[in-house]
């Protein structure tokens, strides 16, 4: 079933024409096809295939469907941006996107540490190339280089961690690792070291402090279309591997990785939010905001098991999942807005480029405002419920001080989101030119904004879906 999806992807890659629109349409068709297959083959049962290298379960299916949706939205948003820039308007953009998507699919349904690794590498290598797609840009090249060097290091850490886990348990199959750990057939010392390296590797992929150095540079340096991609879909996959490796595989060692993630989480919220205040470049600001959001998401991961009691696990992990999904939705919308305002030769990535947007287009200013308030966690927008559900998991687990710290950093975060709203609404416009964007993009952008608002009023469905899919998968 999953193999079919992969096969179609790969076949399509070779069929691909150099004609740009055809490529675009083909890519979208591929994604729709993959979505249909995933949906049709979704049984709600936990199935292992490829000699237990892969697992198919409801969480994976849900995440994959959302992944396709996100990638499709990303491609719609970036279409005119890519077409306006000859250096990017090549088949590679779409080919690499599909490869990266494949990598993420592998990550989402991996049941073997090596499968996880293959997925990550497939994703990362595609992303390195995508960041450098505009090869004449010094910033982009530098970002790609930095990303590559640090990414390779992180991959090394991850592999090293995996090898230690192998040394400790004698297997790399995630479900088997869990079983052996549960039966106590493992060397605890080596396992602890393995977990440390593993968490470091994951932290790099998530982009949390202190493994966050690449995020601002890559977000800033990469072409906005690529940033949009990096800032949205891979977060879903990163969440999936956290669940797969740490929860499915190493739940017995939860004490170890929870305390590590706790530190990472608090540091991320602190560094992310405070550093974001100082930024004048919107992409860079959003990069720091991404760091803080990932930190917030991790709060849910560290409150699953309290003192060996896994009663709250489902509640906590589904909160995190909900948080990631809403973050991806909002983040895609925000970067989409940058793309919407960009024209050929004009990037619209400085915060001041949004000045007086309300004068130029009240509707899109309102959409952007919804995104910002959602990120800041102000109701009635979906970001509030994301924060709320994670916070209630934290309080339920008894970490009251952590909840207070989290809301303090949210307060700091509110400042820079408000600043965007201020620039759009209170400042005079810098240009009076009308917004030129294709109709499909405008419609999709509006839909994205409305989704943020409507999910904020009716969050129940998505919340239950997260909880239900995790319940069936864990």
């Amino acid at each position: 079933m999953l193999a079919m999806a992969c096969l179609i992807l790969i076949v399509d890659l070779f069929v691909k024409d150099r004609k740009r629109t055809i490529t675009f349409v083909l890519t979208q068709v591929t994604l729709v096809g993959a979505a249909i297959i995933t949906f049709a083959l979704s049984t709600g049962q936990i199935l292992y295939t490829f000699s237990n290298m892969y697992v198919g379960d409801m969480m994976g299916d849900l995440l994959k469907l959302l992944l396709y949706l996100t990638v499709m939205v990303v491609l719609f948003y970036s279409r005119s941006y890519v077409f306006d820039r000859p250096e990017m308007a090549k088949g590679e953009f779409y080919t690499l996107t599909l490869f990266a998507t494949l990598g993420m699919m592998v990550m989402i349904s991996a049941n073997h540490f090596l499968t996880v690794y293959i997925g990550i590498e497939l994703l990362s290598l595609s992303l390195y190339a995508m960041v450098a797609l505009n090869r004449d840009s010094i910033a982009a090249t530098e970002a790609a280089m930095k990303y590559f060097v640090l990414g390779a290091l992180a991959s090394g850490l991850l592999l090293y961690g995996m090898s230690m886990i192998y040394g400790s348990t004698g297997t790399l199959e995630i479900s088997a690792v869990a079983e052996r750990l549960f039966n106590g057939q493992a060397n605890k010392t080596i396992l602890a070291f393995g977990v440390v390296f593993l968490v470091s590797g994951i932290a790099f992929k998530l982009g949390v402090v202190p493994f966050h150095m690449w995020i601002p540079d890559v977000y800033h340096g990469a072409p906005t279309a690529v940033t949009l991609f990096i800032a949205s879909a891979p977060k879903l996959a990163a969440f999936a591997i956290v669940i797969r490796m740490l929860v499915n595989g190493l739940i017995v060692a939860s004490q170890d990785w929870q305390s590590m993630l706790l530190i990472l989480s608090v540091l991320s919220m602190a560094v992310g939010n405070f550093a974001a205040i100082a930024q004048t470049n919107l992409k860079r600001m959003l990069a720091y905001s991404a760091i803080s959001h990932m930190g917030f998401m991790l709060l849910g991961m560290i409150t699953g098991v309290v003192g060996g009691d896994a009663r709250y696990a489902l509640n906590a992990y589904s909160s995190s999942m909900f948080y990631v999904i809403t973050y991806v939705l909002t983040s895609a919308g925000t970067f989409g807005m940058i793309l919407l305002l960009a024209r050929s030769g004009f990037e619209s990535e400085e915060i001041s480029d949004f000045a007086g947007l309300n004068k130029r287009s009240p509707w899109f200013a309102a959409v952007m405002m919804m995104m910002m308030f959602s990120m800041a966690g102000v109701p009635f927008f979906v970001g509030f419920f994301a924060k709320f559900s994670v916070l209630q998991a934290v309080v339920a687990a008894g970490y009251l001080w952590l909840a207070i710290a989290a809301v303090f950093f949210s307060l700091v975060g509110a400042y820079y989101y408000l600043r965007i709203v201020k620039v759009m609404y209170f400042d005079p416009p810098i240009s009076t030119s009308r917004i030129v964007a294709p109709l499909d993009m405008k419609i999709l952008m509006s839909a994205n904004g409305l989704a943020v608002a409507l999910l904020g009023i009716f969050p129940q469905t998505l919340m239950s879906l997260c909880a239900f899919s995790l319940l069936r998968s864990l």
């Binding site: 916070l391 309080v395 909840a403």
Partner: protein, 494 residues
């Protein structure tokens, strides 16, 4: 009892009209936007009138209750209802919305649709706050109402509007985030309920009660505002457009006080008793010190803003003496302050629209050119100073009476406001209105037109009516207040 979901109507009629107003778009359709907004505001008031007519004064239970599940995953319900305390504020708010729409009728000529829509949406959200019986629903309305006010101050405000808007937003958010954590804590402790009424009955040990009370205190003290977290208010008032100031003074400040009644007192009664000294102290500082601060202001709006803080000090003082007289006095004071402070800000707005200055020195002898206006202004200034026969007197007098029973020196300190309040209000009035015509701006003033007359007359009816015959206001609150006091007197510590 009609079967209509009156409270839902009170919330959603203004919000939906607001969205329609927003849809009228550019300033070319400004007259349409204004008419639609007025229509929405009047409709919003009309749907609240049955709330008063059908209100049962003999019971303290919630009335007009609506309950339907909203987010079952966290047991959050769309749970509305009013008692004798909150019903008055729903009505006051709906009434003030009309005033605000009228106040911005000619003055606002920039982004008219957005301006009116912001006020209507905010009006609905504020009604939602007063009518919520679900903690999370309350919080959501509470936070969401920040957005329109932030935009109102920031878009249509004065020169330092950005600073004021940020200060307003961040101060309030700081308080409400701690409030959120305590709500979640209560949710977890109560075994998964967000119902405020459940929380009222839930026993809580002493130490958690203290923490809950303090967290609530931060949230509500910022909103009231109490000394020393009051500093955002003068900035916000000075920079906000007239309509923004009116809503801020008349309704938004009441949210904090209302929060004390709905959350702090009934949920943490033991902590309230134990820490009442703190609140009484802070209230007295607000009354005396802020009153003195008001005396030296040169900006009229700032002066009224500080006087609002002092008046709100009376409200919190009345709450924490735990007597029926004090509580009812405080509630009367809240409603009356809604009329009077709203009117004061409107009067200043009327002068500002003509002269474009709020400085007292820029005026003098206004009575010569604007006699009708001067008469109204006189009435409201007197009411602000607490003259008998105006609503300002009733509330203050009841609170002072209660204070005498509580502690003579507290009453003594509170009573000084009668002198200080009269001093700063009337001194300002004298400098602005009386005397010879100060300068050519004042000489060119034109008296109020019929629209302005209507607004002032409506507010004057409110202020005078409540002063001469407070019975209709106090009778609805009796049973709720008594029930609240009975509830507080019982310890919740197991």
């Amino acid at each position: 009892m009609s079967g209509m979901p009156l409270l839902s109507l009170a919330i959603w009629v203004p919000i939906l009209t607001g969205l329609f107003v927003l849809a009228t778009g550019s300033d070319r359709n400004a007259p349409l936007a204004r008419m639609l907004a007025l229509l929405g505001a009047v409709a919003g008031l009309l749907v609240t009138i049955p709330l008063y007519i059908d209100f049962d004064v003999t019971t303290s239970t919630m009335q007009f209750v609506e309950l339907s599940p909203w987010i079952p995953r966290f047991n959050i319900n769309y749970h509305l209802g009013v008692d004798g305390i909150s019903m008055l504020f729903v009505m006051l708010n709906s009434f003030i919305t009309i005033i605000v729409v009228l106040a911005g009728w000619q003055v606002i000529d920039n982004k008219v649709a957005q301006y009116n829509a912001s006020f209507l949406i905010m009006s609905g959200l504020l009604n939602g706050i007063f009518a919520s019986l679900d903690g999370m629903l309350f919080y959501i309305f509470f936070e969401a109402s920040l957005i329109p006010l932030y935009l109102i101050i920031g878009v249509w405000g004065g020169p330092r509007r950005v600073y004021a808007a940020f200060k307003f937003f961040l101060f309030t958010l700081m308080g409400s985030l701690l409030f959120l954590v305590s709500l979640i804590y209560l949710f977890v402790q109560s075994g998964g309920s967000f119902s405020i009424l459940d929380w009222h009955q839930m026993p809580i040990a002493r130490v958690p009660q203290m923490w809950i009370f303090l967290a609530f205190l931060v949230a509500f003290a910022v909103k009231v505002p109490m000394w020393p977290v009051h500093t955002w208010l003068p900035d916000a008032h000075v920079e906000a457009p007239t309509g923004g100031s009116i809503v801020l003074a008349a309704i938004a400040l009441k949210l904090g006080a209302y929060g004390f009644l709905r959350f702090s007192l009934p949920i943490a009664p033991d902590a309230s008793q134990e820490l009442s000294g703190l609140i009484v102290g802070l209230s007295l500082i607000a009354i005396v010190y802020i009153g003195l601060v008001a005396l030296v202001q040169e900006d009229m709006k700032k002066l009224v803003a500080y006087s609002s803080i002092a008046h709100m000090g009376f409200v919190t003082l009345g709450f924490f003496m735990f007597s029926a007289l004090g509580l009812e006095g405080a509630l009367v004071q809240m409603v009356s302050h809604g009329f009077i402070a709203g009117a004061m800000f409107y009067c200043i707005g009327v002068m500002y629209d003509r002269v474009h200055s709020r400085q007292i020195v820029d005026y003098g002898g206004v009575v010569n050119t604007m006699p009708k206006f001067a008469a109204f202004f006189m009435l409201f200034a007197m009411a602000n100073a607490g003259l008998p026969a105006t609503s300002g007197f009733v509330g203050e007098f009841m609170v002072i009476l209660a204070a005498v029973k509580y502690n003579f020196w507290v009453a003594f300190a509170a009573a000084t406001t009668m002198i200080v309040g009269a001093a700063y209000t009337l001194w300002m009035y004298k400098r602005v209105v009386f005397g010879a015509v100060g300068n050519h701006h004042v000489a060119e003033l034109t008296d109020i037109n019929s629209r302005e007359f209507l607004v002032l007359a409506l507010l004057a009816i409110g202020a005078l009516g409540m002063g001469l015959y407070p019975q209709p206001f106090t009778e609805v609150m009796h049973s709720s207040v008594n029930e609240l006091l009975r509830h507080i007197a019982v310890s919740k510590i197991l």
